[in-house]
């Protein structure tokens, strides 16, 4: 764990170069390039169907682009499976919450630790000796996350019974449990009320400050995006139409036309 101040700004953590992705005749992403620097909050915005979620799926290895390359930590990334991306330090949350509904908050977040567990199945089944020791260590880490996200009160509640805003928070907790270097958030504030949005903003900023995690997020709430992120990349019909700091992007005419302020 390093402090935010230690993070050398400007180091590129992940870069996407000329990536194109199509499903049959549908061109989801066309020749998009951008980079994510270490320690920044990077927003990806765009109208519906602009290819934002596809972009996240490309980054975490769920889709494989037909063209272009992805560099992660300075190394050209081969075609890989999502779990390989996960163990490489990329975690994500989903647009439509994807938790284990019948399991408690605690168990859901504990599931995020599974890649970090080394003890074999035999011991785990006995839940004895090394497995027990390991569980204590992981449980402590999970409790720290619960404390961090202020969800102590729902520790033992099955997540299916929780309101949507809290489920989103649990999902963030599960992603954090992986101790990722890069955290991908797909519409973390969708469907939330003002207070929940503000809480989520605070958590995102605190995650960066406390864990030094780099964050890439897709979000529709412009107020949130402009306040929260260091740099914004704008997609429209699979193409990149703007990239830069929020103030510049906000003033960009193409962006305004495509997305922000044209009266319909």
């Amino acid at each position: 764990m390093q402090s935010y101040a230690d993070i050398a700004k400007g180091d590129v953590l992940l870069s996407v170069k000329d990536v194109s992705l199509s499903f049959g005749g549908v061109k989801a992403i066309q020749g998009v390039s951008f980079d994510i620097r270490k320690g920044e909050v990077r927003a990806i915005i765009g109208p519906n169907g602009a290819g934002k979620t596809s972009m996240l799926n490309v980054i975490n290895g769920f889709y494989h682009p037909q063209a272009g390359e992805i560099m992660f930590k300075g190394i050209r990334r081969p075609k890989m499976k999502p779990y390989e991306a996960a163990s490489g330090g990329i975690a994500r949350t989903f647009q439509n919450v994807a938790l284990f509904k019948g399991m408690t908050t605690l168990d859901n977040i504990m599931a995020g630790r599974s890649l970090k567990m080394n003890v074999g199945l035999f011991w785990q089944m006995l839940r004895f000796g090394p497995a027990e020791r390991e569980e204590v260590i992981h449980r402590r880490r999970v409790e720290e996350i619960i404390d961090f996200l202020e969800i102590q009160a729902i520790r033992k509640t099955p997540v299916g019974k929780l309101p949507y805003g809290l489920q989103k928070r649990v999902e963030l907790g599960r992603a954090l449990a992986m101790e990722p270097e890069l955290l991908l958030l797909d519409e973390p504030m969708a469907g939330m009320n003002l207070e929940e949005k503000e809480d989520m903003c605070r958590f995102i900023l605190d995650v960066r400050e406390q864990f030094g995690t780099t964050i890439a997020l897709i979000e529709h709430d412009m107020g949130v995006v402009m306040d929260l992120s260091d740099r914004v990349v704008v997609l429209d019909y699979g193409r990149k139409i703007a990239d830069g700091v929020p103030d510049v992007v906000k003033a960009d005419k193409t962006v305004i036309d495509a997305y922000l302020g044209v009266a319909h």
């Binding site: 409790e143 619960i146 404390d147 003002l194």
Partner: protein, 660 residues
């Protein structure tokens, strides 16, 4: 009781002296608990006094001097209680501030108390304190418990609790003289020193700083510790605001006198679970909390299966008939006792266990009138729930009910060593061992409140009943008259309305008017649940409040209240003639309620003047636009067209005829 004897024996006249005494007498008994990362952490008296010593020395090294004041802001956390003791050990005065106060309110207290340091819980409080720091020129240091989010704050004023504590510990380790010096400063503390300054909740305007002395605080706490036979084996969960006299008295002061253990919940949202895990033996809850618990139990029972519901309601009826009688030690037939015992096994025991009430020996409620049904419910389960009447100015107790002499309508006889006098205008005056010394920086107000012979005016109107128990009817200044001369006690009417679970808040008007009219706030939990079960769709409080079916439901309640008022000769003239359901919930952030959730009548009358005019102008609806403050301090606007309903007035005679 041991604590009381110790206190007398060794002239333990300050709280730090009491703490050091416990560390000698019962070093390994638990003193405090806090649930951290899901596990209960316990500190013994020896450990607590070591922590306090280290932090106190740390504060000293930061320059804290005798007589200076230290603000303490946050939720119930051991470190914040330790901060109070640490300041007191140096002869400095802790000034707890309500954690949910907005920056401006907090600024007022810090400014008024001229604090030099602040010990706060987390980033939220640090932000608030720093935002008003300009108004408090003497403020030199802000110490925070939780470090989260504060790493990048670039100010020399900020220290973490751990750093200050470790610095103190290092000084203690390096030189033995430091400890001796510190012990000397504890010994130098006298009973006449100011122990703490507590701010009143501000029911009537700006809050006032109430200065309490050590010896008086300890005298008052010793009396009630003896009264309720509290010992170091008792357990208390402290979950009420740190800055409120109730928590300071019931947890901090009584804990230090009796030597019992106080447990701090993990977070505000987990209080119920934590209470259940701890199983307190001494418990305090305002009626509001008890009501919430009951509402939650009842709502969950609605979702239970038929047979379970039947068993539950059957045994609740049994408890209603016999439970209180058994608790009061009255004669009860053997068959009923057996029936009740079965209920204890099947329903009451498990229910109390879920609520965390299994081990309760003594429980109190106070702060506002409690509904008879609500009070009876808890007592019928075998919980020794009693009422007390108190004030910050009295350091809590003015009256309290002794075991076995319980009446829902009254608040009991005078507490031990308290004298009570009733003025001709009905106002209640008291003289008590714990009473305050003065209001801070306000000798005028002090002179107004204290009589020449040392009695304190409570501002409440009341009278003694035949058994010598006090009955409070309203604020003395709020009791008024209608134009036809009938007595109008607004609180009395409001409380009757609030006893309905679907009414959260009510505000009655009528002084100097022709008739009584009333604002009502519906309870969103109860009415929302009702709406869900009846397929009523609503998107906001405002929409639900304006629903004609909700109006019809509330109308029935008002009708029942009018009937019960008509049945009482003195109150019959003050029946509710018109009412409306407010379009927004009354909120402390808007200044409509105090921080302890009491209605601020005159403020509301001014803010909603249009609606009151509409009442007396005979209009059937009235448009209104209201500014609201969000939790982060930003403002917004709500507007609505509020409907006004007319009610029938009963004449006492007509009721009698109808009854015959």
């Amino acid at each position: 009781m041991a604590g009381v004897r110790d206190a007398q024996a060794a002239s333990l006249d300050t709280f730090p002296k009491l703490m050091l005494n416990h560390a000698r007498v019962r070093p390994s008994r638990p003193s405090m608990r806090w649930k951290d990362l899901g596990i209960w952490q316990t500190w013994t008296w020896a450990e607590v006094s070591a922590e306090v010593r280290a932090f106190s020395v740390g504060l000293q090294r930061l320059g804290l001097k005798r007589g200076q004041r230290v603000a303490v802001v946050g939720s119930n956390r051991p470190r914040l209680y330790w901060a109070m003791l640490s300041a007191q050990a140096l002869g400095a005065v802790p000034v707890p501030v309500y954690a949910d106060a907005v920056a401006d309110e907090m600024g007022f207290v810090l400014e008024n108390a001229e604090v030099t340091m602040a010990v706060v819980e987390d980033q939220e409080q640090v932000d608030k304190v720093l935002s008003v720091a300009e108004r408090v020129p003497g403020l030199t240091m802000v110490i925070h418990d939780d470090e989260r989010g504060l790493r990048d704050y670039d100010t020399a004023m900020l220290r973490s609790f751990a750093v200050v504590r470790d610095d103190g510990q290092k000084a203690l380790d390096a030189d033995r003289a430091v400890e001796a010096e510190w012990l000397k400063s504890v010994e130098a503390g006298a009973g006449s020193d100011t122990s703490i300054i507590l701010y009143t909740s501000g029911t009537t305007g700006r809050s006032k700083g109430v200065v309490l002395s050590s010896a008086r605080s300890i005298a008052a706490a010793s009396d009630t510790v003896a009264f309720d036979k509290l010992t170091d084996a008792d357990e208390v969960v402290s979950y009420l605001p740190l800055a409120w006299v109730g928590d300071h008295y019931l947890s901090f002061a009584q804990g230090l006198v009796a030597g019992f253990c106080i447990s701090c919940p993990e977070s505000a949202a987990t209080v119920q679970q934590d209470t259940r895990e701890i199983g307190p033996t001494f418990y305090f809850a305002p009626p509001r909390v008890l009501e919430n618990l009951l509402t939650r139990v009842m709502i969950r029972m609605e979702d239970a299966s038929g047979p379970k519901k039947a068993v539950f309601h059957h045994f609740l009826a049994v408890a209603k008939t016999w439970g209180e009688k058994i608790l009061n030690g009255e004669r009860v037939p053997l068959s009923a006792r057996a029936h009740y015992a079965l209920g204890e096994i099947l329903i009451y025991g498990p229910l109390k266990n879920v609520l965390g009430f299994s081990k309760i020996r003594v429980a109190y409620t106070a702060g506002e009138a409690i509904g008879p049904d609500l009070f009876a419910f808890y007592r019928s389960l075998g919980i020794n729930l009693k009422q007390l009447y108190g004030q910050t100015e009295a350091f809590l107790y003015v009256t309290c009910q002794p075991d076995g002499e319980i009446d829902v309508e009254t608040v009991g006889p005078a507490a031990p060593n308290v004298e009570i006098r009733i003025e001709p205008n009905g106002e209640v005056l008291f003289r008590s061992p714990g009473q305050f010394v003065t209001y801070l920086n306000d000798s005028e107000k002090t002179a107004e409140t204290m009589t020449g012979d040392g009695f304190v005016k409570t501002g409440d109107a009341g009278f003694f009943d035949r058994k010598g128990h006090l009955k409070i009817i309203d604020r003395a200044k709020d009791v008024g008259k209608l134009t036809d001369g009938s007595l109008f006690a607004p609180k009395y009417i409001e409380n009757k309305l609030k006893f309905f679970p679907n009414v959260k808040e009510a505000v009655a008007f009528g002084d100097g008017q022709d008739f009584v009219a009333c604002f009502i706030n519906i309870d969103l939990t109860a009415v929302g649940n009702w709406a869900e079960r009846n397929n009523i769709v609503y998107s906001s409080y405002q929409e639900l409040a304006g629903n004609p079916l909700v109006y019809a439901m509330i109308e029935k309640n008002v009708e029942i209240v009018n009937r019960s008022l008509a049945a009482e000769e003195a109150m019959a003239g003050a029946q509710i003639k018109r009412f409306l359901i407010l379009h927004k919930e009354l909120d402390a952030d808007d200044g409509e309620l105090t921080r302890t959730q009491k209605v601020r009548r005159s403020f509301i009358a001014e803010r909603y003047g249009v609606l009151i005019d509409a009442f007396y102008a005979g209009k059937s609806e009235c448009p209104i636009t209201t500014e609201v403050t969000f939790e982060d301090g930003r403002k917004g606007i709500v507007s609505a067209n509020v409907k006004i309903k007319d009610m029938a007035i009963h004449t006492p005679a007509a009721l009698k005829v109808a009854a015959e």
